[in-house]
């Protein structure tokens, strides 16, 4: 099954995000197809949240995005559309779930009303009663039966329940693209699984595209089919999850995997780490972003490395490849 | 969307970083008034409150910098002397309120619940007697004077200090280091003096500044009503009262003391706001 079989829903190309003269994201390029679940991993400061915000048009004041963001069926570059056009898209065709469920909901509005609001916003002619009914349906789908929770206020619900309300809001208008930014990070481990389940079944039922942002490799392995690895505002590696995780090419990816791998530790062994720390925004080295922390870096890395596809002659080289001139697995010499 | 990684409070932080516009402007105004008051102790342009052999109602001129009033006294002298009264009332009123209110607030935070409840109820009842009302009641019995005004305003301000120190003390008491101190066996008095009080200084100073502004307003109103500083003694509020009957012919006699009052209040308000921002950004009302 190649990317050409199913329609591409989101196409991002040459995305640059900058705050004034400080570059935050550089030449980000990827696609997400309908029904596909793509993970975006990286540490804090890698730029993954910014990518999501740029795609949604929710960048904070003073931060600008350039490049192309296209949604299937719409010829116009989203980054060039008006505020009104953005508002029409958000909540309807492209929706987002954020990290902090505890503060994401309006504390003085009932939960069902908050879901109904997004329905009434985007579906003309739906009466208030009808919107509430549909809202309760969606809440039911995400595991919050109307009888108990629809008329509740956010403070009466637990973190996991609140996050499911946010998911309900995101799914209410049957979006074609759902972006999740660390949706389960703030929740207890036991609740995480439930929430992830709701997300996956929600996008499956709607054949929606999913862009799932997280720093947790285990979650990506669970939820996603393809993964993009981000560092320093750039995508450094991409590919199918099982390929990238078993046979990483970029040293950063290898480092991440090694640091998460507890099973191969012997007695008294030290958990491997990546040397150094993530530089602050705007202070990444020229050339390869990772070269100051890479064990294999040399003079050749002072030039930005080109993107190498894993398999040449594939339809979309950006879907699977890496940006490294000395990938792991290469013979020395 | 949260937390910067550098600390925003605490010792060692460059004090220059904490300066802000309200603090500077307010501080300047307060210094100006204090300077005036101190100056009046050693020098005034003309003899204090003396009736001069010069026409009344003069507009500002070379000899009488702000003109003369209906009793043929120099206005500028009166303004400078008035600042003394203003500060005097403010200091005593706020001092009384803090001296009683702060221990009361700490007590209410640390004492057993029934006692604390009692103190807070009493506080609420005292709050139903605003400064002006209390001062009027006092004046009815003891006659109007600066001293009566000071005491009345002070008593009426106690609940503000009590309330703010109580809530500040409660949050300090629930902090980890106090818990550690109690676990180590420290008695309540020691905890109160060594942990709670020092952490309340910021709060108290800010409240003092704000209450000072309120005290100035109250004193001016009382003097205007004739229930505060009597006519013979310098007071901006009283000057306003005297000027009201000659608004047509000499409006400056009302505008000048009025501006003085407004600037003094503005100064202390801004100072309070600026201190609040500087001392703990988390308290800042932005």
């Amino acid at each position: 099954m190649s990317a050409a079989d199913t329609a591409v829903v989101l196409e991002v190309d040459g995305l640059d995000v900058a705050a004034g003269s400080t570059s935050l994201l550089s030449q980000v390029r990827f696609t997400v197809a309908a029904g596909e679940r793509v993970g975006l991993i990286g540490e804090s400061g890698s730029g993954k949240s910014l990518t999501a915000l740029a795609v949604m048009g929710l960048l904070p004041d003073g931060v600008r995005a350039r490049g192309t963001v296209r949604l299937h069926g719409r010829p116009q570059n989203l980054l060039e559309q008006s505020a009104a056009q953005w508002a029409a898209l958000r909540g309807d065709e492209m929706t987002m779930v954020f990290q902090e469920p505890m503060t994401a909901l309006n504390p003085t509005m009932r939960v069902s009303a908050q879901v109904a609001e997004v329905i009434r916003l985007h579906r003309n002619g739906v009466s208030r009663a009808e919107a509430l009914r549909r809202a309760e349906d969606v809440l039911d789908q995400v595991g919050l039966p109307a009888a108990q929770t629809a008329r509740a206020y956010p403070h009466q619900l637990s973190g996991g329940q609140r996050q499911r309300v946010v998911i309900a809001i995101a799914l209410a208008c049957d979006p074609r693209l759902l972006i999740c930014d660390e949706p389960s990070t703030a929740l207890d481990v036991t609740v995480q699984a439930r929430v992830l389940e709701e997300i996956v079944s929600g996008v499956r039922a709607r054949e929606a595209a999913l862009l799932f942002i997280t720093h947790d490799l285990a979650v990506v392995a669970q939820v996603c089919e393809r993964v993009l690895v981000m560092y320093g505002g750039r995508i450094v590696e991409a590919g199918a999850v099982h390929e990238v995780f078993t046979d990483p090419r970029h040293h950063y990816t290898a480092g991440l995997l090694a640091a998460s791998d507890l099973t191969s530790l012997g007695r008294g062994a030290v958990l491997p780490t990546i040397e150094g720390t993530v530089p602050a925004a705007g202070q990444f080295p020229s050339g390869c972003v990772f070269r100051t922390r890479c064990p294999r870096a040399d003079r050749a890395c002072e030039v930005p490395p080109p993107w190498t596809a894993r398999e040449p002659e594939v339809a979309d080289p950006a879907a699977s490849g890496f940006a490294c001139v000395h990938p792991t697995g290469e013979r020395h010499g | 969307m949260t937390s910067p990684t550098r600390p925003t409070t605490g010792p060692g932080l460059d004090w220059r970083a904490r300066l802000n516009a309200p603090l500077l402007i307010g501080g300047a105004l307060v210094l100006l008034i204090t300077g005036m008051a101190l100056l009046s102790l050693v020098w005034t342009p003309h003899p204090p409150m003396k009736v001069l052999s010069t026409p009344a109602y003069q507009t500002p001129n070379a000899e009488y910098w702000l003109g003369t009033d209906r009793f043929r006294r120099d206005v500028f002298t009166q303004i400078i002397l008035g600042s003394r009264t203003t500060l005097y009332v403010g200091v005593v009123a706020v001092g009384v309120a803090a001296l009683v209110g702060v221990p009361l607030g700490v007590l209410a935070a640390m004492a057993p619940r029934w006692f604390a409840g009692l103190v807070m109820r009493g506080n609420d009842i005292l709050l139903a007697f605003p400064a002006l009302l209390l001062a009027i009641m006092f004046a009815a019995i003891y006659g109007g004077s600066t001293r009566v005004a000071m005491v009345a305003i002070g008593i009426a301000t106690i609940p503000n200090f009590a309330r703010i120190t109580r809530s500040g003390a409660l949050s300090v008491l629930s902090s980890d280091y106090v818990l550690a101190a109690r676990a180590a066996g420290r008695g309540p008095l020691a905890i109160a003096t060594r942990h709670v009080l020092p952490n309340l200084t910021g709060l108290v100073i800010v409240q003092a500044s704000v209450s000072f502004a309120i005290a100035i307003l109250a004193e001016a109103a009382l003097a205007y009503l004739g229930l505060g500083t009597p006519t013979g003694q310098p007071s901006w509020g009283r000057m306003l009262f005297e000027a009201q009957s000659t608004l047509r012919s000499a409006p400056h006699l009302a505008l000048i003391p009025g501006a003085a009052i407004a600037l003094a209040v503005l100064g202390f308000n801004l100072l309070g706001d600026g201190l609040r921002d500087a001392l703990d950004p988390q308290l800042a009302s932005r």
């Binding site: - | 009641m137 009815a140 109103a221 229930l227 009201q244 600037l263 308000n269």
Partner: protein, 317 residues
Amino acid sequence: MLWQLTRRLAVLGASIAVSTVVVFGFMQVLPGNPARVALGVNASEQAVARMTAEYGLDRPLVVQYLDWVAGMLRLDPGVEYISRAAIGPQIIDGLGVTVWLVGAAMLLAVTVAVPVGAWMAIRHRHADGVALSALSQVGVAVPAFLAGIVGISVFAVRLGWLPSGGWVVPAQDPVGFLQRLILPAIALALVQGSVLARYVRSAVLEELQQDYLRTARAKGLRPAQAVLRHTLRNAAVPVVTVAGLQLAGLLIGAVVIERVFVLPGLGSLLLDSVQSRELLTIQSVVMVLVVAVLVINFVVDALYVLIDPRLRTGGRR
């Protein structure tokens, strides 16, 4: 919720009761014999004794206290010691004027302060927001009576548009009534309105930083829509509280304003009786004002619980 309400009502009742004792004790006990105070230092012993007997001032204090409270509840606390004028009707007449003044000022303050405060918050990073904020600081610093005097100076003396004081019953002369109400109401509203505007600004600013606003935008709400539908509604909660408290402040401020504009309200009644040393009148008027403040605070508390659902069901804010 009913239980909370009943409990607060009980507290209100107790507070009022304690206040009556405080006021009574202050006015009747502290100065010594009220008759002596009323008659002055030079009064003869006979005159004092006669007045004492006439007004029952030698009865046990508790009896006098209960008598007075009963009288207050009947709106008839008695007559003034010297002038023998009935106090009840004077209080009611005074209330008629003061209520108009305070009501008008409150209306002005709220209708101007709320939108201005919200605007200051929304535009807090722009020049107009900063300018308005500075202006409100000045508004807070100007005493109401100063504003009143300046108002008189400009609009009555200089321009002659409005009278400089006095009062007309609205039924008799509605235009004249309004003319005499405008300046004092504005003067009174200026300070409290500025305080309220600053409070609205900080409440709205706080809500603008909340995460749910981001969720609202992600839903597809335009910034203006999001602010109106979500932010302002939530900011209303603390604002209502403060607005209510402002009412109490307005009531006290009215006392001074009535003097500036020579309005025959409760404040003037109070001040006049201080001058003529009519302790019973002072006592009764103060009581009315204190009860008003306590009731206002109670209503504001109750409203707060009603508006914020987190307090209704016992959630934490």
